[in-house]
């Protein structure tokens, strides 16, 4: 078998193992949180018997490992369980919803916003990074560096409010609220998500741009770059043809890291724009101690991180000719 395939399979296996460990950590750490759902819902004054009966109904009285196995078994078969909220404390009709129904539309929204930000930010960062390396030390280089550093230095909510101030209040270009609903069509979604997507772009572009610039400049001192120079290759072709192909590994790692952030770390932006994403859902679920939802969200975030890192690893491997074409 080609060594690259072997390596990729190894990474994949390692990813699954990581996921298993993460699921254990998620499950047990939530277990050790103080307080419980029964008391939170029924109030401090509830009779111990009522609480016990409620816990029994939710299955919270079973031993830890049994509940873990049941949860993991459900996750593997696509069943994330039922949300705790909506259960009647009075023992009335069960109005709770499956976790999957709660999360699915929210996750769709989150991925949409992340995708939109990524489509703007990644090419922009690469372009800025490459051109900054090409004109290293010029005014252009300094301006790009200073601007991206400025945007990353402000807190997200500040950037968000500044954008709202300019693009919704002074010039009514985009709406300040991005409360999209499931009936919205594609272009309406794009229109509504514009400001959050621009906010996220401003937050992540600096990282990727600076890494692109640094990775290329780092290679510019290599003897093979000098060789290309002495072959009369122009500066821009040297960067595109000789430096960039060798610079992908560090760049892709930073891109993966930032894409993961777009999925798991955007709760502040969601709150500012009232965007119905997973981040907000998770925060709400934590406040109400809705354990199945919290667990499901945490697991989705973990999968995102693991998958994106796996993807970055694979890119690093296949852009390394020593690994792709062994002796």
């Amino acid at each position: 078998m080609h060594p690259v395939i072997t390596t990729v399979l190894q990474r994949l296996a390692l990813g699954l193992l990581t996921l298993f460990v993460v699921s254990l950590i998620i499950f047990s750490s939530i277990e050790f949180l103080p307080g419980d759902f029964g008391e939170a819902i029924l109030g401090q004054a509830a009779l111990p018997e009522t609480v016990a009966a409620f816990r029994k109904e939710l299955g919270l009285d079973l031993p830890l490992h049994e509940r873990y196995l049941e949860w993991v078994g459900g996750v593997i078969t696509g069943d994330l369980g039922n949300s705790f909220s909506g259960r009647g404390s009075s023992g009335g009709a069960d109005r709770s919803r499956p976790v999957i129904d709660l999360i699915a539309p929210r996750l769709g929204n989150t991925l949409f916003l992340a995708g939109m930000a990524a489509i703007i930010a990644v090419p922009l960062a690469l372009f800025l990074g490459i051109t900054a390396a090409l004109y290293r030390g010029s005014i252009y280089d300094r301006v790009v560096n200073a601007l991206t550093l400025t945007t990353i230095s402000f807190p997200e909510f500040f950037v968000a409010y500044i954008l709202i101030l300019f693009f919704s209040s002074f010039f009514k270009v985009f709406p300040s609220l991005a409360n999209i609903d499931p009936s919205a069509d594609f272009w309406e979604r794009v229109y509504l998500s514009a400001l959050p997507a621009i906010t996220l772009t401003l937050v992540i572009v600096a990282h990727m741009m600076r890494m692109t610039r640094a990775a290329i400049i780092n290679l510019m001192a290599s003897p093979y770059i000098e060789m290309a120079d002495l072959k009369g290759v122009s500066k821009s072709k040297i960067i595109i043809y000789h430096a960039l192909p060798n610079a992908w590994a560090p760049i892709v790692n930073v891109i993966a890291f930032n894409l993961a952030y777009l999925v798991v770390g955007v709760v502040v932006v969601e709150v500012v724009f009232v965007y119905p994403g997973v981040g907000q859902l998770m925060v709400d679920a934590v406040t109400t101690r809705d354990v199945p939802v919290v667990q499901a969200c945490a697991l989705i975030f973990a999968i995102t991180y693991i998958m994106l890192n796996l993807f970055a690893d694979i890119i690093s491997i296949i852009t390394n000719p020593r690994l792709l074409h062994p002796r």
């Binding site: 003897p223 000098e226 060789m227 120079d229 009369g232 192909p245």
Partner: protein, 542 residues
């Protein structure tokens, strides 16, 4: 293929007048090249020789109107085929580079882009400059590969740089330079990183192709014997100035200046061999390898007589350094044993006592990487004094000064950092560090191969003197036969992890030779301009 009108041999191709180049270091600019003139005619090969730091590469690159970052050409004129490069724009110079003037770099492995196939890199200049179409260039490159005697010339271009050997890469780079049929090629120490046996083949194919296409060349090297094979004329540089110019034969037979004569006479040390029956170290049937079970050493048995020098010779990959690692305990052997003073040493370093460690010390090829750049000489030499001998305070200082005196450095060196010393001085400090432990045996792993001839001579004389005064035993790993002649009593020849021969120097260096020893010895360039021609004729017949 577009063939340019080359003009007749004898026309001036490159004329450099009063070149001054400044380099930036220690926060200021100071001159590296101090007013050098250079004239090169069409089809002529000029050898540019001198020690490192003499400014050879800087001058070579300047002939392309190029200065490395941190250097600038401040004065003079560079006229290439009627065009003044000092007045030319960057775009005009770029037009010349890779099309009419090509460059062959020292380290082929580092000078090829790891991400692209060899063929793409070979034809890049010719195609980008519009000298030939991609198809033509590819076909031509394959012909050049064949002419340079590369294996499988039709397909080798589809490989990546890491997939071929150093000697092959160096030849591909020559093809790359030749691809656009330049008028001038700058060869910058192209064979320095190669083994002697590979060097001969690369030299021969370079010389042949340059003659074939009637290309002028500047051949930069510090190896006189090599330049004698390649050059029509020789220019000797020192401290950025010309020492003397002459045609090769005159230069070799009648050097005028003292400095040139000293360069010529470096290989003159020769130690009288002594026999000895008192064996200090012995390896018996040692096998060793690095993870994965690939055997690097196969049944290696070596005897080292006390107070004498055993030179271990062989090309890279023959297992010389691995043998040293086994003896020092860095790499435990998988079979066999190492006897020191008649007693078996534990294979692994961690099982050896301090006393055992103290008795065997090592000196490395690159003094730069063997010393912590942030430690002063006091820290570097003081550490073994403290660790092995428990010296402190005044006693340590006193011993430190004695050691410095032994290696012929004065007390001002005590507080210097490695960066504040020359290559030869750094290697001396490494010798003092090994001596500090008061060892019986020192393993010298290619300790002179990174140094210039004159500095080499100094280090070798120092090692010989120390042996005489202190009775130290050396195992001297090298691929340079001149060094072997200078320092050894006995020689071990290694090839592919095994010992080919062991014996007294006079026996090994005299016929009859086993095949490999013959190849190794005959590949060492000699100071005779006809040596390579003669050797090739001999090999073709044989």
């Amino acid at each position: 293929m577009n063939t340019k009108n080359k003009g007749g041999k004898g026309d001036i191709l490159l004329e450099m007048r009063d070149i001054v180049i400044d380099g930036f270091s220690d926060d200021r600019w100071h001159p590296i090249i101090k007013g050098i003139d250079l004239t090169l005619r069409r089809g002529e090969i000029m050898g540019l020789i001198g020690e490192s730091g003499a400014g050879k590469s800087t001058l070579g690159l300047a002939s392309m109107g190029f200065a490395r970052p941190g250097c600038k050409i401040t004065r003079g004129s560079i006229v290439f085929d009627g065009k003044d490069l000092m007045k030319a724009s960057e775009a005009e110079k770029r037009e010349l580079r890779g099309s009419r003037i090509a460059y062959v770099a020292q380290s082929a492995a580092a000078s090829f882009n790891p991400a692209h196939k060899l063929l793409e890199q070979t034809i890049e200049a010719a195609v980008r400059h519009g000298i030939s179409t991609e198809q033509e260039a590819r076909a031509d490159a394959r012909k050049l590969f064949a002419e340079l005697q590369l294996p499988d010339p039709n397909n080798i271009g589809d490989r990546y740089p890491h997939q071929v050997s150093g000697g092959q890469l160096q030849r591909v780079m020559t093809a790359m330079a030749m691809s656009s049929r330049p008028d001038l090629i700058i060869f910058d120490e192209p064979t320095t990183a190669l083994d002697v046996t590979t060097q001969v083949e690369v030299l021969a194919s370079m010389r042949q192709i340059v003659e074939h296409f009637h290309t002028a060349a500047i051949y930069i090297t510090h190896d006189l014997a090599v330049v004698a094979q390649m050059a029509d004329v020789i220019k000797v540089l020192r401290y950025g100035e010309t020492v003397e110019n002459a045609d090769t034969r005159t230069m070799l037979s009648h050097p005028e200046k003292e400095y040139t004569k000293s360069l010529w006479s470096v290989r003159s040390i020769e130690k009288a061999e002594e026999e000895s029956e008192d064996i200090i170290l012995k390896t018996e049937g040692v096998d060793a390898g690095y993870g994965g079970g690939i055997k690097v050493l196969d049944n290696v048995s070596i005897e080292v007589p006390r107070g004498h020098t055993v030179a271990v010779v062989g090309e890279s990959g023959s297992g010389k350094s691995t043998a040293a690692r086994v003896i020092t305990g860095l790499l435990p052997q998988s079979k066999g044993q190492v006897l020191f003073n008649g007693k078996a040493l534990p294979p692994a370093l961690k099982d050896r006592s301090t006393e055992q460690l103290k008795k065997i010390q090592m000196i490395y090829q690159s003094a730069d990487t063997a010393m912590n750049p942030r430690h002063t000489v006091r820290d570097i030499i003081g550490r073994p004094l403290e660790f092995y001998l428990g010296l402190k305070g005044k006693a340590l200082d006193k011993r430190l000064l004695e050691l410095l005196e032994l290696i012929e450095l004065d007390e001002t060196f005590v507080d210097r950092l490695p960066a504040e010393m020359s290559g030869g001085q750094k290697q001396r400090v490494c010798i003092a560090r090994a001596l500090a432990a008061e060892p019986d045996l020192i393993i010298c792993d290619e300790v002179t191969s990174a140094l210039d001839q004159i500095v080499q001579k100094g280090i070798l004389s120092l090692l010989l003197r120390l042996q005489k005064e202190l009775g130290i035993t050396y195992i001297f790993i090298t691929h340079d036969i001149a060094t072997v002649k200078a320092i050894s009593d006995q020689i071990v020849v290694m090839y592919q992890g095994g010992v080919v021969e062991q014996g007294m120097k006079s026996e090994i260096l005299a016929p009859p030779y086993p095949d490999y020893t013959q190849l190794l010895l005959s590949s060492v360039p000699e100071m005779d301009p006809d040596w390579l021609t003669g050797l090739l004729k001999e090999r073709n017949q044989g």
